[in-house]
Subunit: 419 residues, 4 copies
Amino acid sequence: MRIVKNDTKYIKVASYEGKIGEVKKVLLLYSGGLDTSVMLKWIQDEYKCEVITLTADLGQQHDDLEAIKQKALKFGAKQALVLDLKDEFAENYIAKGIKANGSYQGNYYLSTPMGRAVLAKNSVKIAKKVGADAIAHGCTGKGNDQVRIEGYILTFDPKMKIIAPVREWAMDRNEEIKYAKANGIPVPASLDFPYSVDDNMWGMTWEGGEIEEPQLIAPIEKFLTTYTLAKNAPNKEELIKVTFKKGIPVALNDQKLKLSQLIAKLNKLAGKHGVGVVHMFEDRLVGVKNGGVYEMPAGHVLIEAHKALEKYVSTRNLNELKQELDTKWGYLCYGALWFDPVMEAINTFNDFVNEKVTGEVTLKLYKGKVDVVAMQSPYGLDHTSFTNLGGYSFNVNASAGFIEIYSLQMRLAKQIGGK
Amino acid sequence: MRIVKNDTKYIKVASYEGKIGEVKKVLLLYSGGLDTSVMLKWIQDEYKCEVITLTADLGQQHDDLEAIKQKALKFGAKQALVLDLKDEFAENYIAKGIKANGSYQGNYYLSTPMGRAVLAKNSVKIAKKVGADAIAHGCTGKGNDQVRIEGYILTFDPKMKIIAPVREWAMDRNEEIKYAKANGIPVPASLDFPYSVDDNMWGMTWEGGEIEEPQLIAPIEKFLTTYTLAKNAPNKEELIKVTFKKGIPVALNDQKLKLSQLIAKLNKLAGKHGVGVVHMFEDRLVGVKNGGVYEMPAGHVLIEAHKALEKYVSTRNLNELKQELDTKWGYLCYGALWFDPVMEAINTFNDFVNEKVTGEVTLKLYKGKVDVVAMQSPYGLDHTSFTNLGGYSFNVNASAGFIEIYSLQMRLAKQIGGK
Amino acid sequence: MRIVKNDTKYIKVASYEGKIGEVKKVLLLYSGGLDTSVMLKWIQDEYKCEVITLTADLGQQHDDLEAIKQKALKFGAKQALVLDLKDEFAENYIAKGIKANGSYQGNYYLSTPMGRAVLAKNSVKIAKKVGADAIAHGCTGKGNDQVRIEGYILTFDPKMKIIAPVREWAMDRNEEIKYAKANGIPVPASLDFPYSVDDNMWGMTWEGGEIEEPQLIAPIEKFLTTYTLAKNAPNKEELIKVTFKKGIPVALNDQKLKLSQLIAKLNKLAGKHGVGVVHMFEDRLVGVKNGGVYEMPAGHVLIEAHKALEKYVSTRNLNELKQELDTKWGYLCYGALWFDPVMEAINTFNDFVNEKVTGEVTLKLYKGKVDVVAMQSPYGLDHTSFTNLGGYSFNVNASAGFIEIYSLQMRLAKQIGGK
Amino acid sequence: MRIVKNDTKYIKVASYEGKIGEVKKVLLLYSGGLDTSVMLKWIQDEYKCEVITLTADLGQQHDDLEAIKQKALKFGAKQALVLDLKDEFAENYIAKGIKANGSYQGNYYLSTPMGRAVLAKNSVKIAKKVGADAIAHGCTGKGNDQVRIEGYILTFDPKMKIIAPVREWAMDRNEEIKYAKANGIPVPASLDFPYSVDDNMWGMTWEGGEIEEPQLIAPIEKFLTTYTLAKNAPNKEELIKVTFKKGIPVALNDQKLKLSQLIAKLNKLAGKHGVGVVHMFEDRLVGVKNGGVYEMPAGHVLIEAHKALEKYVSTRNLNELKQELDTKWGYLCYGALWFDPVMEAINTFNDFVNEKVTGEVTLKLYKGKVDVVAMQSPYGLDHTSFTNLGGYSFNVNASAGFIEIYSLQMRLAKQIGGK
């Protein structure tokens, strides 16, 4: 959502909001973009305090982390820290997302909500290490990310102070640019590029401009940066194979890779085919509806593959309940409750189910679409295997008896109550 | 699933199974294919009784209903009835499926389960009209359809007798063909075409051959008959528009159509782009896993469009619950419980939600994929409209207060219990 | 929760909060107790504006509504309105609660949450009628009721201003009493009675004192006012009969009564036996846990009776889903979402289910306990009736077939995956 | 349900049913009652094979296991085994039930469904040890227990043969008694005692006679055997204390006891007060409704205590989901799916939640009723503790902001769509 000047002066009422004079050293979550660069100066000016920046490496593909670091130092950061969170993100967050077939209101695979969780948790660690008494972030006051970042920071340090300059300052977009120019902060060449992005290995989230308006068609060719558009993809199907062990992808086309690397590689492979682009109009946690376009090549392929394999090794009763809990998981993850025990409890459920999610899945990539076309697993609930293991073969003589009893109450209800 | 000779002789134990000598006039649900044609003769031979055939028009595209009728008469049917159920199917079954975003274990839109419901209900009506004391069907003893057909028949007539020859007879595929030839019943030219299909306007279900084996890739070019394959689709995106009124599609590209016609037209339009082909490996109700390939161009487009519009007009709380109930609906519909009060109760819930699902949805069709790209509705829960209607504009001053309270228990839990 | 002085000055940040100078005429929701009486003066003093009081008759048993009215006028109210909402409350709120077996986190039947909904909705009507530009209420800033009252008022009038003096003022209990005395407002004789109550026909909610402390046993003999304690109840069982029509109680011991009267009568009858006293320690919507003692004689009897009858006329599949939705309904109702479409949608589901909830339920009351001991309904899903209506009698020959298929996947899973 | 002669001859169609001539050595699950005693002779006569009896000690209180053993030998058992399963039952079954607050359709705590699971699993072990090729049980063909016993046996040995004489034989009650007399099997003195019971430490299940008829009041004074009736209970409240560790009761009134002993002791203590008697009319798995009266003193107390403590240490979000999963657990456990992975998955969820369910619960017992009146836990999510641990105290300044955002969509929906 584009920055629009708040109608009224911002007033701090939450206990945890850092006030001017009260905070001495701020850890700023720094992306290197316009907003957080302006913030870096603005906090020094307004709060008269030291700023240390933290930039997380979550596997985003379009960032030059060293350049971001230098930029931070240039604009006055006392220290500019870059933290490699790729493996922690992949193994402790995305892996749980895969086990949960984690998606929200359709096919949004929750890249930003999970990215915020790992970032917020680590920001507390770093803040303590560097002796910061407040953490500042670049989220707006109308979105989900403020709820996630602030809620998670307070979860790990109940007394940490937080500063949210975009929520607080009185600048609109033009004033922000003016401020930037006045402070020597580079401003994007094209001011009529209204799109903003949140980027990590699990997906890129595009917002702004026509994307926000449900009745407009988002001009994806203007902003989609990853790889290619479906219409430019090769006009040739490609088969790929993903190997899972206990729910986690461990090999791509038979090449063993750790998860963060597998995702990076698959982003390119599936991205080439334009797979994983999703238009959504979703419910934000704060009550407004919001448009987004998501690019999630690896996410889309892995969730589709995982769903199919998991369904193959689980009973129908388990599949039904898992599907319901997956829905719940998606709402909770999106809903800024990553560290609530309710999510941890569902994760233990998912771990159990995924003990059997081992095997290979073959997928076909073509022109923006992915299809699971074959799979195998030692745990596939295949009746033929069962018979080989000593079970009785399917007995059609049992069927009518089953039907007579299974349908009994439906029949009763229609005869007795259905008039 | 291909017909395989049963290991043991079939024994009738269910109360409702018609026995030789006991039934005098049988209504046979007749598709015109090999199985039901053999059945037509076999029932006359074995049960020494009159057979009347019933062939339902559910909008299937590859049947010549007049030819089927003549075939039935040729093989001894006393009467050969053809019943046009297209509108009843569309308006009383598919419409409920659309409101429920009805799908099972992924993207199977339940064409066969709903087709069986309308067929079974009507077969009871016809049986009574023609004075039949039993209904015969062509379902195997290992599948879902026997449970649906028999359960639903008994729901509407608790004393109707039922005959399921495939479950009962001792013929395997070769013996069946031998029997057919001996009785002058035409046998498919290509005996190595192991695929069978269930066809209605909402979708075609392919089974048999490699489709049954999870580790094999189904050779869809051999059997997919509707329209085209994605790889042969035009290399050009097409935008279409679907208009909904209270959850029901009422116009396609601004042309008003009744639902059965809209579906027929959209099957061609979306089919041309190869949209709606789904590979599945699903849980049958009788406990075995089963592969299928589904062709559902209209179904896929309409469900995607409906989901997006419904989500746009509903609150987040409602969207979450609806998604859980949609999952449940899919399991119940697949699970042969169409006429159980539990489904009727969910349908009333869905009717309420769909009171607001009115508006237009624009979709992009391309190479097997469909994307909702724009929509509008007078009921869209759009914050801008709200402000125009007199609501307060979004107040960022409220955000930190919201966050402080919303995250409270997560924070408590981590501090108190999270050690 | 007792009033404790806020640590910090209250700052109004919500758009809807009425500010001094901005509001001219206030409608105060007036109970006649100390808090709202102090408020009545305080608003006149602080806001320099006219106050009209509104006292709702929700069937509370311990209020003298005429005396409350006179008290309001005495302390400066320009008008003192008393509104009889008994039937609206019973028929449009409690009736939905009964159909939903509405309870929260155990056996709390949601008397206060439903009472707040009917009160808030009507307060908007009255405010418009009398030309008030703000509504004031007596809820604290730590509880659920502020969320309900304010959310519901804004639902019906998005521009209404709201004043919450307890949240706003800087008085603690002692200062409030001082203020009361200074203004001639009568103060309760016993200052060491720390218990407060919310009273309506569906139940009384006691809070404060030991009730708030989970490790203490609430001294119920000090405050329970309705009727009697179980230990003082007659040592003799009493049987009563409740007649339901479409889910609604319509007669008590064969005497036809409208719902509000039936509840009033049953409160006495069941209260005499000490039925319906519940100790709870529940999750408030704002994140804190809270103790309460509830007195709900009629509520307890009617919900128990309704549950039993509903279960008797519904199928097992429906009973399971209904039980899950009842849980959800309880959380939503408690959670200040009465007018969200999600609740209305569940209510339509419940209306459908309750079409068959017609019949008589016999209950035994004894020493604080109620047991459903017998019931009858024309819609009871009784197998004997079914057989009489033409259904087959239960066929034990079908059982083993049912078992073989029903248990199939559990067996597969253990053999294939269970090692 | 009383034994009624089947209308038709029983025909074995399930693969696993043992046929005459096919089985050589049968393990009979022997209770010592009339049915299984007649069976013991009848199997020897009909199947011409050796019978070994197995009697399980599940903590039932009204069995003399040594006498049962002698009786078995007297009527021809080659061996009469008695197996002490008390601890296995308590620790691997009931403990899971407690963590799940396991109940079905109200307050039936699933004593029989869990008892059948432990019995069936062990019967397979013993059958293998003694070389039996079939297991026989005394369940009728109309109930749940046949589904449990047979399904579970096949889960642990897919090739085991099963014999269900009551389902199979053609005797009604009178013929059975005649058969018994002819074979010297003692027949109950009072033939007009139509009630039967299933007894284990977690509860006694009474069926038969008036209990089966919903419109009749079951004459509990005729058959309730455990302890006392509420009306004969002491007219004096008693407080007791249960200590939980990770969800499991470990001490009663500060006396440490292993679970099976704690249950036995609490059965007496709570039974003395008439606690835990429940009248139900429930949905059997096979589609019929069934009346039962349950005596479960310890079960009732422990589930009530556990629920309260678990709710106290869990977040509201977790409590809501847990309540939904508890409902599901009850249906699955009752529904003969104890060993399906879906239940194991829920059990791992429950184990996680119960990691914090540690503390003490005080309950009041009086005249058939139990109330949780106090509790304490180091993990109680108590806001006071949180503040002491460094969290911010509750900030009423945050409340209006919370309300403004929390209620936003409800308000939007009413303004935009609510006309």
